[in-house]
Symmetry: C2
Subunit: 333 residues, 2 copies
């Protein structure tokens, strides 16, 4: 295992300490329990947006804490759900009196712990709503989920609901918006290589030199099928087709096209995939009016990519364009 | 070779086409010769800032084209200098009447071609100045250079001179500023793994499973020494010590600390390195007043990192903080 770490047990703590030291202008970090909170939280009268999940997907979620996006993130151990006490602590820290929205990627452990946290928060008189993101069309019921997995769309949901919260939309409104994003977006990913969890010390799975995994999960969970290596254009087709058909898009629809890197794939290659994905979208009559390309929700050092399409409305587009100031996404401010 | 590409010959062109499609709001891309130009270039009365080099280091340089940073970038083939005709075309495109600054990483091919381009541009009556970045303390004279290599400091030089050009500083002033940045900054890198140039098809060098290369170049050029794998804290010390001693920093100095990812190393690990580097800086009495962490100048999918320190002045700090709107770096706007 070749990694820039000290002891595997210290990876998340030491990484958080580095993150805190580098970004004290944007976030406050607590270590026990581990939370990353927007530096000026709680913002009075604003819905607090909270997410979290296992570490190893950076910049998600901690890199998206700040004005216009998340109010707090709860980092678990690598590929492991955060605990209810982390979530409760973060909920208290971001409650500005207008309630708190939990954005939960659909994994069994995350769901269970966020549900416990929301019970505890409600006991303290904090209004909480939860929205589950389950955008991955690759598989139903997987290793860690009942139903579809939550993947790339989470990034877009965090950006869009974060902008709505800045406009002082109410908790029911922000929750409904998040459900709308989840209904209008789909994703699918693939991997060229595996990834290694530090305390495991060996790759999550074995992938022969001449094969790739189509429909991979962000924890290296199996996808739809293993196939022989194929050119980037064929990969783009294999991901775009299921995403488009599941979404039921119509010619003339505006879409946001998001090509995400899994961690180990250079930007050069992501743009080659984007090129073909945009061409396929155009061929199907879709108008790609917004785009995002880069490693935003990763699987440690895995090589591969995912494609997310989000059907846009004028409201969603304006919220996407709204100012954001986080480590991983920043514009307009 | 596992890469998301089509034919190796098409990598740079197809990637550029994808980049152009995704970022038409920020850049204009020409294909023959290949240039990436700020969408509103030329800006009348502003010094044009131009850089370029081999592809494979993304987001450098094309990702840094836009308001407050580069006016244009010339992408060569992978790890290969761009040609004088690319540079001349880009020079014409960004000449707003106040002249053009070339920021050149110190590699023999880049120097030669930028020199030819500046001769051609001057023949057309365009004022051109060149500044060479040679910040890598790892080696003197390397595989591709006479003298030190130009590496991570290039990112900081492009940001700072770009901001100065926005303020309408003159060509001699912006060139002097760029030389100041080069004098006040140093870098050193390391690799855990090699990288593979698509048309070569095999790794640039072999690195055994239990070894790492200290002082690596951004093209996989040999560094100072091969050593057994060591913890991230020891790596941070091996990079910080030569950088600090070469710079001759004094206790109380303000510095920008930049921990750069080589491409294949997750953010989690970069923050572990940042944590220790910041601690070492503090122990030496340095004040880390600005920071940057992430993959900004990469070597394809190489795993590893580099550390850059830049001694700050009030002027440099203000220019660093100034608004920037590019694909790879964006704030304040």
């Amino acid at each position: 295992m070749k990694k820039l770490i000290n002891h595997p047990d210290d990876v998340v703590r030491e990484s958080l300490e580095g993150f805190a030291a580098a970004h004290a202008d944007l976030v406050r970090v607590t270590m026990s329990p581990a939370t990353i909170v927007r530096v000026d939280a709680p913002v009075t009268g604003k819905v607090g947006i909270l997410s979290g999940g296992g570490s190893g997907h950076e910049p998600l979620h901690g890199g998206f804490v700040g004005l216009g996006m998340l109010d707090a993130a709860c980092p678990g151990a690598i590929f492991t759900s955060p605990t209810p006490d982390q979530m409760l602590e973060a909920t208290r820290a971001v409650n500005g009196g207008a309630g708190v929205l939990y954005i939960i990627k659909n994994y069994t452990g995350d769901l269970m712990n966020f549900e416990m946290a929301s019970d505890l928060a409600r006991d303290e008189g904090i209004a909480v709503e939860s929205v589950i993101i389950d955008d991955d069309v690759a598989v139903n019921d997987s290793l860690y989920t009942a139903g579809r997995r939550g993947v790339g769309l989470t990034v877009l949901a965090e950006k869009i609901t974060g902008a709505a919260a800045e406009q002082r939309r109410s908790l029911p409104q922000v929750a409904a918006l998040c459900r709308q994003v989840n209904a209008q977006g789909r994703s699918m990913g693939m991997a060229l290589t595996s990834c290694t969890v530090p305390h495991v010390g060996h790759p999550m799975f074995e992938l022969p030199d001449d094969e790739m995994e189509i429909g991979i999960g962000i924890h290296g969970e199996p996808g739809r099928r293993r196939v022989k290596l194929q050119p980037a254009d064929a990969v783009a087709e294999m991901l775009m087709e299921p995403v488009m058909s599941d979404l039921g898009l119509k010619p003339g629809d505006d879409v946001l096209l998001f090509v995400n890197g899994m961690g180990g794939t250079p930007l050069t290659e992501l743009y080659i995939v984007y090129r073909k994905a945009a061409e396929i979208a155009a061929k199907n009559g879709l108008k790609v009016t917004r785009s995002l390309v880069g490693p935003y929700i990763t699987s440690l050092e895995m090589a591969g990519c995912s494609i997310t399409l989000l059907k846009l409305t004028d409201d969603l587009t304006a919220l996407w364009d709204a100012p954001v100031r986080t480590v991983g996404m920043r514009w307009g401010i």
